[in-house]
């Protein structure tokens, strides 16, 4: 019965060519787009805006050279151009002449970049002074950018790919699957099923399995494009990758189904899913760390499914890690998935 349900889902799905094409193509397009933009950089480079000195001297030349030596991208602009750029909010750090010396302006909205840039600018200043005075150059502490798994990330696209795989799952589960479910119920497409002996859990499990396989195909296409275009290869075992993906799909699809049980209309669902999506994203530790957050919040966040899922995915894909260190995290994902599925079965209404 489950098999039939699953097979029919696929058959009907494959008839909607447009929807199927975009589901498969969307993550690929994102990968191609972002991957190409950041192709050669090992990640976005730190940049400093350098406001031109009216009568540049030897000191200015030495500083500029030192900035370049320290791998900073120097954007040289006149004062008016620099001010305009600053006003648009595009500048993270701006180095400008002031009196006898210099001043560094940092953009409070872009502190992460600005802070790192400030450190490098100050180092460059020390180097430049040493060079001018003929003193030996101060010894710098070498910097190396690495992922926690100790493998050097080859390029930005290879960092991007697992993120795309993961976020695509979350958005499919929370937005597409749940929304389709609510709108079908709204249109009364499940009413006829309600008078048959088909158990709800089989119907739902059939849908989850269908989506799971859709994701497998989607992931396979994405991996293939990543490999062919950017030469990104999975560093870990494919079995581990598949396991994590399956767990994540199951979890976030079940999330979507569970949420759809709480909405009466598609509009209502849009609101509810955003209500869940944003905290899930914001508190996942993907955008900012929560080191300074209150302890209770940190405990809460540690128990959320998105962060451990993405972490395990990156560890396997980028660093070739085994699943050994990720048992707890994946356990959390599985627990959420199971709880969401049970809730989905309980809340599911045919009409």
């Amino acid at each position: 019965m489950l098999w039939r349900q699953f097979a029919m889902e696929w058959r009907l799905y494959s008839r909607d060519r447009v929807a199927m094409f975009w589901t498969m193509a969307f993550p690929v397009i994102l990968l191609l787009g972002f991957g190409t933009i950041f192709r050669d950089s090992g990640g976005p480079k730190l940049a400093v805006v350098r406001v031109a000195t009216l009568a540049p001297g030897a000191r200015d030349a030495a500083l500029d050279q030192a900035l370049v030596d320290l791998q900073l991208k120097v954007v040289a602009l006149s004062r008016t151009e620099a001010e305009a750029r600053w006003a648009r909010g595009e500048t993270a750090a701006q180095l400008e002449p002031e009196g006898e010396g210099y001043r560094l302006r940092l953009n409070s909205y872009l502190m992460a970049q600005a802070g790192a840039t400030a450190g490098l600018v100050n180092q460059a200043w020390l180097v430049a002074q040493a060079r001018l005075s003929g003193a030996p150059e101060p010894r710098r502490i070498p910097i190396q950018v690495e992922s926690p798994g100790r493998k050097r990330s080859a390029n930005y696209a290879s960092f991007l790919l697992p993120g795309l795989l993961g976020l695509n799952l979350v958005s499919m589960g929370l937005f597409s699957v749940g929304m389709v479910n609510v709108s079908y119920r709204e249109k009364g497409k499940f009413r006829r099923l309600a008078v048959t002996p088909l158990p709800k859990w089989i119907f739902l499990l059939g849908q989850v399995l269908h989506r799971l396989t859709v994701t497998v195909v989607q992931a396979a296409i994405l991996l293939l494009v990543g490999y062919l275009v950017f030469g990104i290869a999975n560093q870990g075992s494919f079995l581990n990758l598949a396991l994590i993906m399956a767990l994540g799909t199951g979890c976030f699809m079940a999330f979507g189904f569970a949420l759809s049980g709480f909405a009466e209309t598609s509009e209502g669902y849009a609101a509810i899913s955003n209500l869940v999506f944003f905290p899930l994203m914001m508190l996942s530790g993907v955008y900012f760390t929560l080191d300074s957050a209150p302890a209770w919040l940190q405990h809460l966040v540690a128990g959320m499914p998105l962060a451990p899922f993405l972490k395990a995915l990156r560890a396997v894909f980028n660093d070739g890690a085994s699943l050994a260190g990720h048992g707890l995290g994946l356990g959390i994902v599985a627990a959420w998935g199971l709880a969401a599925f049970l809730l989905a079965v309980k809340r599911f209404r045919w009409a």
Binding site: K189, R192, V195
Partner: protein, 306 residues
């Protein structure tokens, strides 16, 4: 095996602003074709959906084939067949696939080919549901109601949207079901259909059953088995004066007067005389047997379909 196919006691269902079903008692025997007759909003669909387990009743007892929802939900679902008032399926499923799929949910099932033939959909067996005409979709819904070889079948307005030929076809299907020993509960707005198909009927209005019986007994209970009609060109005039002259009740309808009578033979000469005397500009005279329409009219003062 119990004798009763369906037994309702004190069934009530209230929506936020309407009492849709206001205390319904019904008994349907096995092998019977039972009709629910009533105007729009009478509560027919709600009654059926409560019985089918789609809507939960506020109160009342439901016994289906001797089973109850509380204890035997799955078994009830396996043994009843349902045609909803409107059946919405996935746009791109074909009739053949729909019958195969829905059939797979049941322990017992009838063959897809046989069902397609029964509702004459062989030609459209592989067309997407969304491309079927309204009547074809309706016929598919009927076939789906029979997919599990059900003992008890609920049909909600099965002939609405069918052309006259398909309508006759459905009558044949229902008669065949009866011959096969199934119990059928159907709703309709059509008097002729109810008279032609149903062994017994319940007439519903405002959520209540206002009369039950065989079509013949319901009409006989009127004690006015015939209606004489005078038809006019255009709108019928006010009958007050004529009514007084005749000494009988005259009911004006759009373009005719109706005069119910137990004895048309003696009435007719008197009537024509009075009409002549009062110079009533009528066109034609008809005498007809009273119908269920008249039963409804008589009980509620309103017409079944307006």
């Amino acid at each position: 095996m119990t004798e009763s196919a369906l037994r309702l006691r004190g069934l009530r269902k209230t929506f936020p602003k309407v009492v849709a079903v206001a205390g319904v008692d019904l008994d349907v025997a096995r092998g019977e074709v039972f009709g629910l007759l009533g105007p729009n909003g009478a509560g027919k669909t709600t009654t059926l959906e409560v019985i089918e387990g789609l809507t939960e009743a506020d109160s009342g007892e439901i016994e289906i084939l001797g089973l109850t929802w509380a204890r035997n939900g799955r078994e009830i679902r396996s043994r009843i067949g349902v045609q909803l008032q409107s059946t919405s399926l996935f746009n791109k499923i074909t009739p053949r696939e729909a019958l195969d799929l829905y059939g797979s949910y049941y322990p017992r099932r009838r063959g897809t080919e046989e069902l397609l033939a029964l509702v004459q959909l062989e030609e459209k067996a592989d067309a997407y549901h969304i491309t079927l005409s309204g009547g074809q979709q309706q016929r598919l819904a009927l076939a789906m109601a029979l997919v599990n070889d059900p003992e008890l079948v609920f049909l909600d307005e099965p002939t609405t949207g069918l052309d006259p030929q398909a309508r006759r076809g459905l009558w044949d299907v229902v008669r065949r079901m009866k011959a096969e020993g199934r119990t059928v509960v159907l709703t309709t707005h059509y008097m002729d259909e109810a008279e032609a198909l149903c062994d017994r009927l319940a007439i519903m209005d405002h959520g209540k059953v206002i009369a039950t019986g065989t079509p013949a007994s319901l009409i006989a209970d009127l004690a006015l088995p015939s209606i004489v009609e005078l038809t006019f060109e255009g709108t019928a005039p006010d009958p007050a004066a004529f009514e007084a002259a005749l000494g009988l009740r005259v009911e004006p309808r759009m373009d005719l007067w109706e005069i119910p009578t137990p004895d048309p033979k003696t009435l007719l000469p008197r009537l024509l005389e009075a009409a002549e005397a009062a110079a009533v500009p009528f066109q034609q005279v008809h005498i007809r047997r009273a119908t269920l329409e008249d039963v409804f009219l008589h009980r509620t003062g309103r017409s079944l379909r307006e």
